[in-house]
């Protein structure tokens, strides 16, 4: 199969990116996701839908986000020029709102009145609750019991925004269990409910739809770097949990084969310890949450719990398009441990005056390795997909600081 210059043609009609993706859902949900696909296709072609998105992006979310030359980090590494795509400056402090806005506007077009979402760290939950508050929609957020306990500020935020939080005690009480419970809610409330999935995973059309909504990141970055430097970057990089911010940055560059696409997974305590969240580097293909993709699993196909200091990367799977980009070699996937991310978190804060979320700190930690092989005049864009305010408590704890 000759894949050159056709990278943007995926998924195929069956929702597959090569051997990944698909629609692995219970029959109750099949008519719903087929209908969702049809409605999404129609919305995508409707200028009124795009106009509504553009208006909200400009005046509510705060787009375009700046492309910032990280001068002191560039000096620090002494190599290629490092640019940050500042998606942490969005309303609610992360890239998540790009996708929530799109999905909730679509839900309203479809006449749905109740929005459900899963959340791990709470960022997707907060973004969903925010958009629901803005449009006066009922919002129910499923969150693992363990996460409810360790993310109290976001739980309070969501409640202030009018969302109902459902703590999930099944399984191990983390993100994957929250997703299971959201799917259970959806099969129960099929008529009025829209499931707003937070990452570029799940059954088709979610991986494609979430990617399209997040692609605003890469579309802007591409235009901004061309304006600033007059040429395309040599590499773009982003952290990966489910992979929505990364695919949003990558996709507008996907047919530009001279641009390296680099994802950074969370290696937790180290891939060799088994306590990590690196599905591509430490997992193998399987079926979970509606798609075939790389998963952390036992020899018997039971799903393993992920581990990462960053709750936003703490997921045992990864979006199917990343699985495809990895197997075809179009993108590269590195990993970063908790300790390396903590060091990068501090480095960025001290040198740039930007407190990054722990998620993009994983990508920052690999910048040195990536520019190592690059020309000094090279250009690197890294997506700073979230701000670190939410993480100050966990960072303080990890550094042994009493607050």
């Amino acid at each position: 199969m000759d894949l050159r210059n056709t990278w943007d043609k995926w998924p195929d009609a069956n929702g597959r990116f090569g051997e990944f993706g698909g629609r692995y859902v219970a029959e109750t949900l099949m008519p719903l996701i087929l209908d969702l696909e049809k409605e999404y296709r129609a919305a995508k072609l409707d200028p009124a839908f795009k106009a509504q998105m553009d208006d909200m992006w400009a005046h509510y979310v705060g787009r375009p986000s700046p492309l910032y030359f990280a001068e002191r980090l560039t000096e620090h590494f002494g190599g290629a020029k490092i640019y940050f795509k500042r998606d942490e400056l969005n309303h609610t402090g992360a890239h998540k709102i790009n996708n929530c806005l799109g999905q909730v506007l679509l839900a309203m077009r479809m006449g749905k009145t109740r929005i459900i979402a899963e959340t791990g760290a709470g960022q997707h939950g907060v973004a969903t609750a925010t958009i629901c508050a803005r449009f006066g929609l009922k919002c129910v957020v499923f969150m693992g019991e363990t996460d409810v306990e360790r993310q109290k500020p976001n739980v309070f935020r969501m409640r202030l925004l009018g969302a109902e939080i459902v703590p999930v005690s099944s399984g191990t009480g983390t993100l994957k269990d929250a997703m299971n419970e959201a799917l259970r809610d959806w099969v129960t409330n099929v008529d009025d409910t829209f499931y707003c999935i937070g990452t570029a995973a799940g059954p088709h059309p979610y991986p494609e739809m979430v990617r399209d909504f997040q692609s605003i990141i890469g579309i802007e970055a591409r235009q901004q770097i061309l304006e600033r430097e007059g040429r395309l970057p040599d590499a773009v990089m982003a952290c990966i949990g489910g992979g929505s911010n990364a695919i949003g940055l990558f996709h507008p560059f996907i047919n530009d084969e001279g641009v390296r696409l680099i994802g950074v997974e969370a290696a937790g305590h180290g891939i060799e310890t088994g306590e990590h969240a690196a599905a591509l580097n430490g997992g193998r293909p399987g079926i979970l949450h509606g798609n075939r993709t790389y998963l952390l699993q036992t020899d018997d196909g039971q799903i393993l719990d992920a581990h990462s200091i960053s709750a936003g990367l703490d997921y045992p799977g990864i979006g199917p398009e990343h699985a495809f980009l990895r197997d075809t070699g179009r993108a590269e996937y590195l990993s970063c441990t908790d300790d390396e991310a903590l060091a990068a978190f501090q480095l960025c804060t001290q040198l740039e005056g930007i407190i990054p979320a722990l998620e993009p700190a994983h990508a920052i930690a690999r910048i040195g390795d990536v520019i190592d092989g690059m020309h000094k005049d090279g250009l690197l864009i890294m997506n700073l997909c979230g701000r670190g305010d939410k993480d100050v408590f966990s960072v303080a704890k990890a550094l042994g600081v009493e607050m």
């Binding site: 069956n14 698909g22 629609r23 692995y24 859902v25 219970a26 029959e27 109750t28 949900l29 099949m30 008519p31 719903l32 099944s170 399984g171 994957k176 269990d177 997703m179 299971n180 799917l183 259970r184 099969v187 129960t188 409330n189 099929v190 399987g286 079926i287 979970l288 949450h289 509606g290 075939r292 998963l295 699993q297 020899d299 018997d300 196909g301 039971q302 799903i303």
Partner: protein, 275 residues
């Protein structure tokens, strides 16, 4: 021929003018030996078909009772091949009772579709219900099953309209499992009158017997479902006896409780004379 085991059983039940009792239990809950005793007790007390659950960490279509059953089984390190071995053990002394393996796609995918189909056939499995493997995604497995006469048993639900049902029926055999309520296993009960039309449509489009499940817990509900369906599936109510056995530590409670419930259900259903 395994497929004909299911067909033969429905022929027998029909000749007796009644609906089939389809009993679900989770393999390895509370342990594999007890599961074997439970299968025998179910069969001896009137279960016509046995659905053997294979545990999965992320059972997204199941309610709390079956979720817990799966976790108990996994706590014993039950593997898919152990559940197949349990089926094979039952098959040593029972050549007639259809055995349906019910679970999720990933453990089967992990073993490999070719290896699984061979192993399931060797274990005497007659069909499988893989909840998250809809018709769009089961072609490879279906081709393997065809080599071994294993049935693909599909789910239909109240959201399955007639055009969709044609897709669901395509390649299905044995019977269709009609999920009576939109929701998870063990959730609220359905009104048999409200779904009678759906069941009739499913039977007409598929040409297969239709077993109705989700939310059937006692004899009275089973009787009402038996009036409209070719078979009645009971799951969570059986599984609760494994939970009591686990909690009390007296595992003999599980086959005793399941046997008694099967006896109650089958006696009640036998009173419904069907054409």
């Amino acid at each position: 021929m395994p497929t004909s085991r299911i067909t033969a059983r429905f022929d027998k039940v029909k000749a007796e003018h009644r609906a089939a009792l389809v009993a679900y239990l989770m393999g390895g809950d509370p342990d594999l030996e007890t599961s074997f005793q439970c299968m025998c007790a179910l069969r001896d007390n009137g279960a016509d078909i046995i659905e053997l659950g294979a545990p999965f960490t992320d059972p997204m279509a199941d309610g709390p009772a079956i979720q817990r059953a799966g976790l108990r089984s996994l706590a014993n390190h039950t593997k898919l091949i152990d559940v197949l071995a349990l089926a094979a053990r039952f098959r040593e002394t029972d050549q007639d009772t259809p055995l349906i393996l019910m679970g999720y796609a990933n453990p089967v995918h992990s073993l490999g579709y070719v290896a699984f189909a061979e192993a399931a056939h060797a274990a005497g499995i007659d069909g499988t219900i893989l909840v998250d493997l809809p018709p769009e995604e089961d072609q490879v497995l279906r081709d393997e099953y065809a080599k071994h006469d294993i049935s693909v048993i599909r789910l239909a639900t109240p959201t399955t309209h007639e055009a969709r049902m044609a897709k669901v029926a395509d390649g299905a055999s044995g019977f269709i499992y009609f999920v009576a309520v939109t929701g998870v296993t063990g959730a609220g009960s359905a009104d048999p009158q409200a779904i009678a039309g759906n069941v009739e449509m499913v039977r007409r489009v598929s040409g297969l017997p239709v077993c109705v499940g989700f939310g059937v817990k006692n004899g009275a509900q089973a009787v009402e479902m038996a009036k409209i369906a070719d078979g009645v599936v009971v799951g969570s109510a059986f599984v609760e006896h494994a939970q009591s056995a686990h909690e009390s530590g007296d595992y003999s409670e599980a086959p005793r409780g399941m046997g008694a419930l099967a006896g109650e259900l089958s006696a009640a259903m036998a009173a419904v004379a069907k054409a």
